[in-house]
């Protein structure tokens, strides 16, 4: 799980806090989708192997190709959501609207369950807040790589930041590929497949009773496995991944089922920083 030989440029996504004057020149150039807008450090500019080589997964540089695991995963889950939303009594417009304006897989499935059980609006909103709060950390983690984005571009990007788009972007950004256009296209494709899957589910709700197609429900877990492996570019990150995973499962077993991911992430990152001195000293 620890090899990283295939990564052409390897660095942490926060390394560019050291970047200097060279980038201020780039900052003044207008947004242009055809050229790479991102290079994190002076080193990266020098080492940049070319537009097609500086992502972690070799030739997978197009938005569609990078978004394809998300699309494969979102269509069936969106479909399942659509079926459940219809059965919970949401109108077609409201069911579809939730996929457009909330765009959060697990939170939407939970919310639909709450709507079906007649929960109060405030408790549905509060549950959604807690379930989605982990995106605060994801957003903070991606922020350093986006310093040359405009506010409205960041707003659009953040609006479509889900577990899955985050997973893809964190791997891309860590490998030095944070092109604005590709980033936004990946998000739009993911969002479109989520809405499309939802619509199909709402329409098919009358005909369908079993919402779990063969093997498709493993698309997202498998994608997380791949992206986690791509994230683990040094031993410290492997230790953090193992630590956070175990803490998350342990908290869940102790009954902390809403907060386990956030708490395990906070503890994991802290463990990583605290471990840096200990491990390098040994």
């Amino acid at each position: 799980m620890v090899t990283q030989s295939a990564l052409p440029t390897r660095h942490r996504m926060n390394d560019h806090s050291t970047k200097t004057d060279e980038l201020s020149e780039l900052e003044q150039k207008p947004l242009n989708c055809d050229r790479s807008l991102t290079a994190f450090t002076r080193d990266d500019i020098e080492k940049d192997p070319g537009p097609d080589k500086h992502n972690a997964h070799g030739t997978e540089s197009g938005a569609l190709k990078q978004a394809s695991p998300i699309i494969i995963g979102y269509l069936p889950i969106g479909f399942a959501y659509g079926v459940l939303a219809d059965k919970a009594g949401l109108s077609l417009v409201n069911a579809l609207l939730m996929s457009v304006i909330v765009f959060a897989g697990s939170a939407q499935l939970i919310a639909v369950g709450l709507f079906a059980s007649g929960a109060a609006p405030m408790s549905i909103i509060a549950t959604t807040f807690v379930v989605n709060l982990r995106h605060l950390l994801m957003s903070a983690a991606l922020a350093p790589a986006m310093r040359r984005w405009r506010k409205r571009e960041m707003t659009l990007f953040g609006f479509e930041l889900t577990d899955e788009t985050f997973a893809v972007h964190s791997a891309r950004f860590a490998a030095g590929d944070s092109k604005k256009c590709v980033s936004l296209q990946i998000n739009l494709l993911a969002h479109a497949s989520w809405v499309g899957g939802s619509l199909l589910g709402i329409i098919a709700s009358e005909l369908i009773s079993d919402v779990r197609p063969v093997g498709l429900d493993y698309a997202l877990p498998a994608m997380f496995i791949a992206l986690l492996v791509l994230q683990c570019t040094r031993p410290g990150l492997v230790r953090v991944a193992i630590f956070s995973g175990i803490v998350s499962v342990a908290l869940q077993q102790l009954g902390v089922t809403d907060w386990n991911v956030i708490l395990a992430t906070l503890l994991g990152a802290t463990f990583g920083v605290m471990g840096e001195k200990t491990w390098t000293r040994n």
């Binding site: 799980m1 996504m13 007649g118 909103i125 994801m138 986690l228 953090v240 998350s248």
Partner: protein, 106 residues
């Protein structure tokens, strides 16, 4: 619940979802973060991916299940090996889905 109240609930859900997603991007991206915070944030992706993944693989209905009925766990092992060896997201996803589909045949 009538559809208008559902709509209002959706608006509330959107606010509490979108604000935590957008705020850190806008607030942090243009600053030079203290090095310690920068390093801490560097661990977030590995930590959060693992914190979401492991419960999905090891548990069913919030209980740890490692018997052969838990296909997600056992299929994760060959999937992990493929991810490690090939470093291809797409190849890993296809492998994982095929393993689960095959596992369900028996």
């Amino acid at each position: 619940m009538d559809q208008k109240l559902i709509f209002m609930t959706l608006v509330g859900m959107t606010l509490v979802t979108a604000i935590p997603r957008i705020l850190p991007l806008v607030a942090l991206s243009s600053r030079n973060l203290p090095p310690l915070l920068g390093r801490w944030l560097g661990y977030i992706p590995a930590a959060v991916l693992s914190a979401m993944l492991l419960p999905a693989l090891l548990t069913q209905d919030d209980r740890i299940r490692l018997d052969f009925d838990n296909l997600f766990f056992w299929c994760a092992i060959p999937t992990l090996i493929v991810a490690w060896r090939t470093r291809s997201i797409f190849g890993t996803v296809i492998t994982g889905m095929m393993m689960v589909a095959l596992g369900r045949l028996y």
